[in-house]
C-alpha cells in the first residue's frame, strides 16, 4: 500500500469526533474496529451517535481485541495450519480488553508460541523474521547482527542487539525489549488504520507513552480514531482485503458473523487468487442463490425505491444518486429481476469491496 505524502497533514482532534455517525462512517468504523460491518441491531443502536462513544465502547470490547489479534497473526502470517491454538495466545483478546496486558507483551507471547517457531523454522529464518517483523530492520544491512542472533538461537552466548542472550527465547525477549519494537508496532498500526505515515514527532511521543505505561495502547488508539486524520481516512476508500470482504459479506447477506472455520477457509481460497474478483462474485452468488440469505419476496417490497435506497445505505454506506436509483428501479420493475439480482449487482460491484 502506498501512503502518499500528499495527504493533508494531521489536523488536531476536532469536532468530527462528536459528529453523529452516518451510514458511511458507521460502516467504515465498524469495519476498522471489528473487521465487519454492523449487524442490523447495531446499526439501529449506533446511527446518529458520536464516533467517540463507539470508539470508547470498542476499546473495552473483546471483539475489538480479537480482531486486533487476527490482524497481528495475519501480519506474522500465522494463518491456516500455523494459527496459534495455545491458551496463552487464545486468552489475549480477553486480557487486552480487560487491560491486564499490553499490546507489546501480546506480540511477545505470539512470538514465543510454538506456531511462530513452526512457521519460522531454523535459525536463519527465525532470527530474520524477528528482526524484520518485530523491529522493522532490513537484515541485509546488518548481516553481522543476524549471524550473532543465529548463534544465540542455537544456544551459544552472545550479545544480540546490544543485550546478552543464549537461547531461542532470548532472541525474542531481546527484540521485544528493544525500543524499535514498540516503534515499529505503532508505525505499522498507524499506517494500517490511518492510511498515512505518522510524523516522527508523533511517533516518538507514542513510543514514550507506551514505554512509560505498557497499557497505553488503548489511549493512543482512542486518540487516533478521534483525530482529524481519521476523519480524512474516512474519505479515502481502498479495496478490502479478502478476510474483511468475507466477514462483510456474511454480515450483509446472512445477517451473521462467519465462524472462524468458515472465514478462514474462504479467506484462504480468495487469497489463492491475485485477482479474487471472480471468486468473490462466485461466493456472493452461491450465498444469494442458496436460500439461506434472508431476502424479501418480490411481492413484499411495496416501494422498490425505498428498499433500494436502504440497500445502498446499508451496503455502500451512501444514498444512491438519482441516476443509480432510476436505473435500479427500472430494472427491478422487470419481472426477470429478482431481489437477489439487485443484491448481487451491489455486492459484486468494486465499490462494495472497498472501505
Amino acid at each position: 500500500m502506498d501512503f502518499g505524502s500528499d495527504l493533508p497533514q494531521d489536523p488536531r482532534p476536532e469536532r468530527t469526533a462528536v459528529t453523529p455517525l452516518d451510514h458511511g462512517s458507521l460502516r467504515c468504523l465498524f469495519l476498522d474496529l471489528f473487521g465487519r460491518p454492523p449487524l442490523a441491531a447495531e446499526r439501529t443502536a449506533w446511527i446518529g451517535r458520536p464516533r467517540s462513544e463507539l470508539v470508547a465502547s470498542a476499546l473495552c470490547a473483546r471483539e475489538f481485541w480479537g480482531n486486533w489479534l487476527d490482524e497481528q497473526l495475519f501480519y506474522f502470517l500465522l494463518i491456516d495450519n500455523f494459527r496459534p491454538t495455545t491458551e496463552s495466545v487464545l486468552a489475549l483478546p480477553a486480557q487486552l480488553a480487560e487491560g491486564l496486558i499490553g499490546a507489546v507483551e501480546a506480540l511477545h507471547r505470539i512470538c514465543l508460541s510454538s506456531s511462530f517457531d513452526r512457521r519460522n523454522p531454523g535459525p536463519d529464518t527465525f532470527v530474520t523474521v524477528v528482526m524484520e517483523q518485530l523491529l522493522g530492520l532490513e537484515v541485509q544491512r546488518i548481516a553481522r547482527e543476524l549471524e550473532i542472533g543465529k548463534k544465540v538461537y542455537d544456544g551459544a552466548r552472545g550479545t544480540f542487539l546490544g543485550r546478552s542472550g543464549s537461547s531461542q527465547a532470548d532472541v525474542v525477549h531481546i527484540a521485544i525489549e528493544d525500543r524499535r519494537a514498540p516503534r515499529h508496532l505503532l508505525k505499522r498500526e498507524y499506517e494500517r488504520w490511518l492510511r498515512r505515515v505518522p510524523s516522527e514527532q508523533d511517533l516518538s511521543a507514542w513510543v514514550a507513552a507506551l514505554e512509560q505505561d505498557p497499557l497505553a495502547m488503548r489511549s493512543i488508539l482512542q486518540g487516533w480514531f478521534l483525530s482529524g486524520a481519521y476523519a480524512a481516512r474516512l474519505e479515502l476508500r481502498i479495496p478490502q482485503p479478502n478476510r474483511l470482504f468475507i466477514r462483510a459479506l456474511f454480515v450483509d447477506l446472512l445477517g451473521r458473523i462467519p465462524d472462524d472455520g468458515e472465514a478462514e477457509r474462504l479467506r484462504s481460497a480468495l487469497d489463492g487468487l491475485a485477482n479474487s474478483g471472480p471468486l468473490r462474485a462466485l461466493v456472493a452468488r452461491l450465498i444469494l442463490d442458496s436460500g439461506k440469505a434472508p431476502l424479501p419476496e418480490r411481492a413484499s417490497i411495496p416501494e422498490p425505491s425505498v428498499w433500494i435506497r436502504e440497500l445502498f445505505e446499508r451496503l455502500l454506506g451512501r444514498s444512491p444518486d438519482a441516476g443509480e436509483l432510476a436505473t435500479f428501479c427500472e430494472a427491478f420493475a422487470d419481472p426477470a429481476c429478482r431481489p437477489a439480482t439487485v443484491m448481487y449487482a451491489i455486492v459484486s460491484h468494486p465499490e462494495y469491496q472497498t472501505w
Partner: protein, 380 residues
C-alpha cells in the same frame, strides 16, 4: 540413498552428459527461418529451496526432470541469492535480485515478466497465469507496484491449495451451485452494475474475463483437484491446476511456483519425498504438453529452484538455508523447448535472474528494468 558432494562432483568434471545419463544427441541444423518456434513458455520455480544434490546429484529422485534435461540444456551453475523464498522467487520473475522481508506480504516495485509480456505483446489476462502453492504471499508475484505496469498487466494467479481444498469444496456444496441466469436477468444485472459509481468500473471486458475464470474454478472443483492429499499435496495441486489451465486457456505464459520442499527444515526425508512427487507431477505436465501437437511444437520449459539449501543437516536432521555454501547459492536450471539445443550442459556461471531476460527475449519483449542476461548457448 546416494549423497554426492557437489564440489567434488564439479571438480571432477562430473557435469558431463555421460555422468548424468545424457547421451549426446545430434542436433539437426535448422535454418534461421525455423527459429523462435517458441510461442508459449512454462517456468517451474521449485521455490521451497532445492539443492542440486537431491536432483541431478540423485537422478533416481527426479527421473522426469532427467528426461526433460535430455531434451534440453542444463545450467548446473545458476547463481541464486538467499533473499527468502518470496524474495528469491520474485527475483526470477523480475530479473532483479533485491532483498525482501521473509514475511513481506506486499508487492515489489519492479515489473515482472508477466507485466512485460502483457504490456508489450498486448496479451489478455487469460494469456498469462501463475499456478502456485505458496499461499497468501505468492499472490504478490503476479504484478508490481511500478507506475508503468501494475495490476492491469498482471498475471492471473491461482493458489491451488487455497482454492481447491476439500473444506472449501464442502462449503460450496453446502450452499449449492449458483443458479444459471437467463439472458434477460443477466442484462438487467449488467445494467444495474454499470450504473453504480464511475462509468469506468466493471467494464464488459472485465466481466467476461471474470465469468471465464469463474467457470474454470467451478469446473476445476468438479475435476477433483481438491482430492489430492498427503505430503506435497499443495504442490501437486499447483501442477494439476497448471495442466488444466494449459488445456483450457492455452496461455502464452504459465508459471508454476511450488513451495513444499521447504519441509526440509524439519525433515530431510519429507523433502526428498516432496521432490519425488513434484517430479511425477512435472512429468505429467510435460507429457500433456508433448501429447498436444500444437503445444509440443510451440512450448518451452524452464525448471529451477529459487535457491538451494545448506550443505549440512541441522540438529533436527533437516536442511535449513542460510549457510552461504555453494549448495545454497548455486542451483541447476533446466531449459527445454523447440528452439533450444538438446542434451547440452553449459558449465558457465549464469544467474537465476537470467530467466526473465531470456524468456522475454524468446517472445520478443524488452525487459527494460531487468538486470539479468540472456542465457548463453541455449538456442539451437
Amino acid at each position: 540413498m546416494t549423497v554426492m558432494d557437489r564440489r567434488k562432483f564439479l571438480q571432477a568434471g562430473a557435469w558431463s552428459a555421460s555422468t548424468i545419463g545424457l547421451a549426446p544427441l545430434v542436433v539437426p541444423a535448422r535454418s534461421a527461418l525455423q527459429r523462435n518456434r517458441t510461442q508459449r513458455l512454462i517456468v517451474v520455480a521449485m521455490a521451497g529451496g532445492v539443492r542440486t544434490r537431491e536432483t541431478f546429484g540423485t537422478p533416481a529422485n527426479v527421473p522426469n526432470l532427467m528426461r526433460i534435461a535430455h531434451q534440453g540444456v542444463v545450467y548446473p551453475r545458476a547463481r541464486a541469492t538467499n533473499l527468502g523464498h518470496f524474495g528469491a522467487t520474485l527475483s526470477i520473475f523480475t530479473g532483479i535480485s533485491e532483498p525482501r522481508g521473509i514475511r513481506d506480504n506486499v508487492r515489489g516495485p519492479d515489473p515482472t515478466l508477466f507485466e512485460y509480456l502483457r504490456k508489450d505483446l498486448g496479451l489478455a489476462a487469460d494469456d498469462v497465469w501463475v499456478s502456485t502453492s505458496g499461499g497468501v504471499q505468492e499472490a504478490n508475484v503476479s504484478y508490481s507496484l511500478h507506475p508503468d505496469y501494475g495490476a492491469r498487466y498482471g498475471a492471473n494467479t491461482l493458489d491451488g491449495d487455497g482454492i481447491f481444498n476439500a473444506e472449501f469444496k464442502h462449503m460450496l456444496d453446502t450452499y449449492g451451485r449458483p443458479r444459471e441466469m437467463e439472458a434477460d436477468e443477466l442484462a438487467l444485472l449488467q445494467r444495474m452494475r454499470a450504473s453504480i459509481g464511475s462509468p469506468a468500473d466493471g467494464s464488459r471486458e472485465d466481466a467476461d474475463a471474470s465469468a471465464t475464470v469463474e467457470r474454470f474454478l467451478l469446473d476445476e472443483l468438479r475435476r477433483g483437484t481438491q482430492d489430492l492429499k498427503g505430503l506435497g499435496a499443495a504442490d501437486a495441486k499447483a501442477f494439476r491446476v497448471a495442466r488444466n489451465l494449459l488445456a483450457v486457456f492455452r496461455p502464452r505464459f504459465l508459471a508454476i511456483v511450488v513451495r513444499d520442499a521447504d519441509q526440509a527444515h524439519g525433515s530431510f526425508n519429507n523433502y526428498v519425498q516432496v521432490l519425488r512427487r513434484n517430479d511425477e507431477m512435472l512429468g505429467e505436465l510435460w507429457e500433456a504438453v508433448q501429447r498436444d501437437r500444437e503445444l509440443a511444437d510451440s512450448t518451452a520449459l524452464f525448471v529451477l529452484p529459487e535457491f538451494g539449501r545448506d550443505a549440512d543437516l541441522n540438529s533436527r536432521r533437516g536442511l535449513d538455508h542460510g549457510d552461504g555454501s555453494a549448495d545454497l547459492n548455486y542451483v541447476s536450471l533446466v531449459c527445454a523447448g523447440p528452439d533450444f539445443r538438446r542434451g547440452e550442459i553449459v558449465q558457465e556461471d549464469v544467474r537465476t535472474i537470467d530467466v526473465c531476460s531470456t524468456a522475454c527475449d524468446l517472445l520478443g519483449v524488452d525487459p527494460r528494468f531487468a538486470r539479468g542476461k540472456r542465457l548463453p548457448r541455449l538456442m539451437a
